[in-house]
Amino acid sequence: MEAARDDGEAAARGSTALSAEQTDAQLVGRCRGGDESAWSALVERFSRYVYAIALQAYRLPEHDAEDVFQEVFARVYERLGDLRDDDAVRPWIGQLTRRLCIDRLRSGGREQPADEETFAGMPAEDVIAEIEMAFDVHEALAGLSENCQEILDRFFARDESYRAIGDALELPAGTIASRISRCLVKLRTELEGRNPVPAESGG
């Protein structure tokens, strides 16, 4: 039996649960209809994505990244009605974030305006590709039990120790490593179910 979570954590996961149950298009549709809980879930779904692009791909300083982060979601909120394909919300948000990051870099204390070529190679495409893959993994994570989601997120994304995780989830710290390992296996199964790995060719 998995440990019970306290009310605060359960409440905090409310919009996560909503987010996990809904496709991007469903969330967008509900946002467009004025459903504020859907908006919260949409922000939560894409917050790490926007954050990663600003910080890792464009290496913006924290205060610039915060401005871009808020601007991205303000524009998404204003322009959601213009989105033609609700399933395309992720590439739309990605593109918007990239554009605003470049705008920020252009305006950031440069003596002379930078030309297009200055940013042509930025960001490194492999960083963006890694963020996209990480987003897929994060989406797959939402398909696991809440306990697995919590353990993997706390350990890898929040960098918490076994002890901190054990304390938070009321689990013996000595069992956390084996739980992480089991949850990773489940996550891999979930991912491979979504994206089957082709059989290895011989030789």
Binding site: A52, F73, E130, M133
Partner: protein
């Protein structure tokens, strides 16, 4: 297609770390801020002096009118009345 071994998964899970809670909360409150914006726009339509004060000094006018300091709302009001 990617082979998701344990090391790869760990790397990808670390890549997407959580955004600061305050940022996420502020973004989640955009609809709330926009409702405040609608009220302000409505009042500015009805009250010319309020409108002029808003254009001259947005931050202090809003504060004087009882709105909590909210950078998102402030930017939205400035943008709305900038032209």
């Amino acid at each position: 297609m990617r082979n998701y071994d344990e090391e790869t998964l760990a790397l990808l899970l670390r890549t997407l770390s959580a955004a600061p809670e305050a940022w996420v909360k502020a973004a989640q409150e955009i609809p709330l801020a926009r409702r405040g914006l609608d009220d302000i726009v409505e009042r500015a339509r009805a009250d010319q002096a309020f409108r002029e004060a808003l254009i001259a000094d947005t931050e202090n006018t809003l504060e004087g009118a009882g709105y909590d300091h909210d950078p998102t709302l402030l930017d939205a009001v400035r943008e709305r009345f900038s032209s």
